[in-house]
């Protein structure tokens, strides 16, 4: 049972790491600020979410699992707000053609 849980953890964390890698490649290779922000949010939401999902299998008890999920939610909140603020600075006139 614990071997299956460890296997699931490794799978999920590897998938999360792949999204982090993709986000970093996007940060380095995309041409302008807005597309880089787009790449970074993938790392934040999906990457961190998968890593947290993998760690949930290793958590001891409901409280630890809830703490892990709240970490992910807080990182989402901070990341989304900062992304909006940076995007507003980069293109103050808002979305346009």
């Amino acid at each position: 049972m614990s071997a299956a849980l460890n296997g699931l953890t490794i799978l999920a964390v590897c998938a999360g790491a792949f999204f982090f890698l993709a986000g970093t490649v996007g940060l380095l290779r995309f041409p302008d600020t807005l597309s880089r922000l787009h790449a970074l949010t993938k790392a934040d939401n999906l990457g961190l979410g998968l890593v947290v999902l993998g760690l949930l299998f290793q958590a001891e008890g409901l409280l630890a699992a809830l703490k892990l999920i709240s970490v992910w939610l807080l990182a989402l909140l901070a990341g989304a707000t900062v992304t909006q603020l940076i995007a507003h600075t980069a293109r103050p006139s808002g979305p346009q053609a």
Binding site: L74, L77, A78, T81, Q84, L85, H88
Partner: protein
């Protein structure tokens, strides 16, 4: 072990980049990343309390301070000529730094074996303090005088910063006024995050008596929430001459000092706790000290007064 080698190389690399970066803002960002990586190193060194303090204070608050400073100094950056130091100075500095590094490395490699440690003595006496976290026991019981002096040092730094105000705004309000946009993103996250952050800060302070955490880490989070509220324009920074503000700042160290002095009468020496009441006394010290330190840290980041009081 491979993970440790990788982490050490990464910390070194980010540190070297912080020194070598051309743009000051890039260097500050590198410094924040360096602080977070150091927090990981502290976890690897089995010091979770220090990791919390490094991440919150060393990387978070210091990073915020340095980012705002580098933004304000950007005009001076563009005016400053790119001064390249002469090659002889670079060589001499490199030789000196290599010698210093080699000296510290020699110290590390020549540390005595077996390592002297105070851990057994700390554990033996912890039952008397009623605490479950040995680092908190050291901070609040064995070396309480260091913590008392530390709170006073924070206050002195704040007085130093306040004394930098120009005469016309003496005793005034720090920070430029931030306008709160009712639908703004910063307002949204401040309204959402500040209550959660206050809860988290109080939790980390409270749990510090039995688990990693403590008053400095909790106070840093509370200070960060106040700073966020000020930045979003939800609250205005108080004028530094306000009596309630000064009372709040002074209460923590004053309570600490009073309990320390009563230790003379009750238990025989300064900051001695009578054994059955040790936990209660430590709690009575910790609560006002946490509030005072939170206010002090937030005001240290806010800086010297910039607007006249009663504006």
């Amino acid at each position: 072990m491979a993970f440790d080698i990788g982490l050490a190389l990464l910390v070194l690399g980010v540190g070297a980049w912080t020194v070598a970066a051309r743009d000051t803002f890039a260097a500050v960002v590198g410094f924040v990343a360096y602080g977070l990586l150091l927090a990981l190193v502290w976890v690897r060194l089995a010091a979770p309390d220090v990791a919390l303090t490094e991440a919150a204070l060393g990387s978070g608050l210091t990073g915020g301070l340095l980012v705002s400073a580098s933004t304000r100094l950007r005009r001076a950056e563009t005016r400053a000529v790119d001064e390249r130091q002469p090659a002889s100075l670079r060589l001499a500095a490199a030789v000196l730094c290599t010698l210093v590094s080699a000296g510290v490395a020699a110290i590390v490699l020549l540390l005595p074996e077996p390592a002297p440690t105070l851990a057994p003595q700390a554990m033996v006496n912890m039952a008397a303090t009623g605490l479950g976290n040995p680092v908190t026991a050291v901070l609040m019981a064995y070396r309480a005088i260091d913590t008392l002096l530390e709170t006073v040092v924070l206050l002195l730094a704040l007085v130093g910063i306040w004394s930098l105000a120009p005469d016309r705004v003496w005793g005034g309000v720090p920070d430029p006024r931030h306008q709160a946009e009712p639908d703004g993103r910063l307002t949204f996250i401040a309204q959402l995050l500040v209550p959660v952050g206050i809860l988290v800060g109080i939790h980390i302070f409270w749990v510090g008596s039995v688990a990693p955490g403590g008053e400095f880490q909790g106070a840093t989070i509370l200070a960060a929430m106040w700073i966020l509220a000020m930045m979003a324009g939800l609250v205005d920074a108080p004028a530094v001459s306000r009596r309630w503000l000064r009372l709040m700042l002074v209460t923590g160290p004053a309570v600490f000092l009073t309990i320390g002095l009563t230790g003379f009468a009750v238990a025989g020496s300064f900051l001695a706790y009578p054994e059955p009441h040790a936990k209660l006394l430590i709690l009575m010290i910790e609560i006002p000290v946490t509030l005072s330190i939170a206010a002090t840290l937030a005001l240290l980041v806010a800086g010297p007064p910039e607007r006249a009081p009663g504006r």
